[in-house]
């Protein structure tokens, strides 16, 4: 094969890959057409690689090849404009003071928002393009955008554990529940409910600042093993608390462990893994202390066990499942 043929084969392959990305738009079509019609050699090179591409659908072992593919998921979420990201109010600022060095990859040059939706009833590990790892506890939704200045993650729902790849020149910014979290590289969990954001630091030192119209109104330093809760507007709820990271982050190991944990917290976590979420019917049950443990795929059994041990029952009311005292 001549050098020219090799070059054309490479170009043809690159064109095929570009054209498979999605339905090609008019400018791309025109560009491709210009390339293709330069010579017969161009057409032959493209025909060769396209034939191979089509033959991949004729392999005898398609059944075996597709056996382990994950199930198709509809992922039609609305896009997030860059202006939306930049216009978000910074109610809470967290600055990492210390971190551990972690590998990272070079930033891409073309910014593109990626939307993530993870399935319920299981943990899902995702690696972002900068090398940061995000682990979701059950169903979670977030969007991610990496540009030349920062890494932006908008959290819409759920609980996520972050192991952020250190990159001093590319801050990692998380917006969630009206709060803004900025890190350079560390490991922590953010749990989002309808009215609260809870930050739990597993590694590194973090300074958390609540801002109101740009002015610092609250400031706290968190180190590994410390936790702080803020409301939807970013105001701190109480002081920095210590937490048992082994127990609180046991879901990362596929387990749920509770030792004197309020029922409200237990239910919130169990709901990530239950087929149907449950609610607490009586306010006085929220603070009932629960001791239980099990694997995340045994969430239903953990629920049944704690109901039995605490004289509670489940009542189905229309489409809701309510926890109430045994009558």
């Amino acid at each position: 094969m001549t050098e020219q043929q090799k070059r054309l084969d490479t170009e043809a392959r690159e064109w095929l890959i570009r054209l498979q990305e999605a339905a090609p738009d008019a400018p791309l079509k025109a560009q491709f057409s210009r390339w293709l019609n330069q010579s017969d050699a161009h057409k032959q090179a493209f025909s060769r690689i396209d034939r191979l591409w089509r033959q991949l659908g004729l392999l005898d072992n398609l059944e075996a090849l597709t056996a382990n593919q994950p199930a198709a998921k509809p992922l039609k979420q609305p896009g997030v404009a860059l202006a939306t990201w930049l216009g978000m109010a910074a109610a809470l600022l967290i600055v990492v003071l210390g971190w551990q060095r972690l590998p990272f990859s070079a930033p891409v040059t073309v910014a593109q928002v990626q939307h993530f939706a993870t399935p319920a009833k299981m943990n899902t590990t995702l690696t972002l393009e900068d090398g940061s790892q995000v682990i979701s506890a059950g169903s979670a939704r977030f969007s991610y955008l990496q540009d030349t200045q920062q890494r932006l993650l908008q959290m819409h729902q759920g609980t996520l554990y972050f192991d952020v790849a250190h990159n001093a020149e590319l801050p990692f910014v998380i917006t969630s529940g009206g709060s803004r979290v900025q890190v350079l590289g560390t490991a922590f969990e953010i749990s989002l409910t309808h009215n609260q954001l809870r930050l739990s630091v597993q590694r590194g030192r973090v300074e958390m600042t609540a801002l109101d119209k740009g002015k610092v109104v609250q400031k706290a330093q968190l180190t590994a093993g410390q936790q702080l809760v803020a409301d939807a507007a970013g105001h701190f709820l109480g002081n920095v608390q210590t937490f048992d990271s082994r127990q609180a982050l046991s879901w990362l190991q596929g387990r749920l462990e509770y030792d004197g944990t309020p029922l409200a917290d237990v239910v919130q976590e169990l709901n990530r893994y239950l087929s149907q979420p449950v609610e607490i019917d009586a306010d006085n049950l929220n603070t009932l202390l629960i001791t239980a443990s099990g694997r995340i795929d045994q969430a239903e059994q953990i629920l049944q066990g704690l109901l039995l041990a605490n004289d509670l029952q489940l009542e189905k009311r229309q489409a809701r499942l309510l926890i109430k005292p045994l009558e």
Partner: protein, 192 residues
Amino acid sequence: MNKAEPCPDNLLLNPAAPSTSLQKVRQTRLIEQLYHSCWSSLCTRLRKLYGNGPPDPQDIAQDAFTKLSQMDSLQHVQNPKAFLYKVAINLGLRSISHVIKTREFLAEQLDDPDVAMHNISPESQLLQQQQLHALQQAMTALTDKQRDILIRCRIQGQTYANIATQTGWSLADISRQLNSALAHLASSQQQD
């Protein structure tokens, strides 16, 4: 549907069948057997690859059986079950609009209607047998990641953005992996 029996891998029709009518009877019998043994697993696989539709996976599977029954002869098919899956998977891909649009554009550019849609037939399979065998062999040398991306893109018809969303891999990485995989597969064809 009937209780699933093991799918037959090798229901080779006798190429030396004495008459066309007898051959047709055997072919009908083969399709019936495939239907009873593979219907359920085929629908499950199609649902996994292309979701709940529309089109409904059962409709795709039904179309695949219809297509098989309309073929003049399946006598060249050594593995009817594999052939059924190929037909069904390619029908499944036809429901993905961006795949269709790209194929139609390329067919127009290359002035070749075959590029638009894969008209699978036992005869065309036979003609490409050697190349397909080499391609299948070459696939085994790909890394798991390359194979996964290739299947998602070529067989499941996922866009790179979908793949990135579901796996966390960057768009640039997906393109790179795909490029390496295709380069390797292309070299297997040239050596053949």
